[in-house]
Amino acid sequence: MKFAIALFSAAHAPSSRRALLFAQAALAGGHEIVRLFFYQDGVYSAANSVVTPQDEQDIAQQWRALVSEHQLDGVVCIAAALRRGVLNAEEAARYQRNAVNLDAPWALSGLGQLHDAIQDADRLICFGGP
C-alpha cells in the first residue's frame, strides 16, 4: 500500500508525534511512503533550529532520522516555510536573511508536490491540530 502523509503541525504538537509513529508503523509493516508533505505549521517539524528540553522527545530530530534512514521524499511547502522564517541556504541568500534552519534531507517545494503525491498514493493521511 502506498501512503502520502501530510503534516500540518509543529514538532511540539502531539499530532506531529502521531504522524511520526504512523509513518514508522507503515514502513515497519512493509508499506511505502511516496512522500511526506509538511504544510502550514508543519514546516516547524522540519526546522533544525528547534531545541527540545532534555527530558522530552526531540520529534524534529526523529523526523530527520526517519527521512534519512529510509531515504524518504521529505517535502516542506516553500510558501508556508518562507512566511514562518524556515529557510534553507538558497532562500536565506535570496531574501538576505542571516538564519538558515532547514537543510538536507528536506527539500523546499510547492503545493503541487502534495497534489502529485495524492495522485500517486493509495491513501492520503493528514495529521494536524492537537
Binding site: P14, S15, A25, A28, R123, L124, G128, P130
Partner: protein, 97 residues
C-alpha cells in the same frame, strides 16, 4: 465506500464530534486519538452520543491509557500498526484537523 474519521480535538471544546457523527455513513468508522479520547469519559454527553450511534468506534490505545480512561466494550483499542491497518481497510481517511 467507507471513510475512517480521525478525531484529535477534545469533544468538550468544539463540535467536531457532533458534526462527524451527523456525517458518518453506514460503512464509516471513527478513530479517537489525542484529546478526542476524552469522549470515552463514562457518563459524559459525548460518551452517550457515541454509545447510541451505530458508528464503529476505535481508539488509539496509548492516548486513552495516557489519560487514564477505561474503555467501554463498544470501543475497540488499536495500536499504531492497527491504525495503519484501519487506514487500509477504509477507502478514505478524513482527519478532522
Amino acid at each position: 465506500m467507507s471513510t475512517l474519521h480521525v478525531l484529535s480535538h477534545s469533544p468538550f471544546s468544539d463540535s467536531r464530534l457532533d458534526s462527524c457523527l451527523r456525517l458518518c455513513g453506514a460503512q464509516d468508522a471513527i478513530l479517537l486519538c489525542g484529546d478526542a479520547t476524552y469522549a470515552l469519559q463514562a457518563g459524559s454527553a459525548p460518551f452517550k452520543a457515541l454509545e447510541v450511534s451505530a458508528v464503529v468506534i476505535f481508539v488509539l490505545a496509548e492516548d486513552a491509557q495516557a489519560r487514564g480512561l477505561s474503555l467501554p466494550e463498544w470501543a475497540k483499542s488499536v495500536d499504531y500498526p492497527g491504525f495503519v491497518q484501519l487506514s487500509i481497510d477504509h477507502d478514505k481517511v478524513n482527519s478532522w484537523l
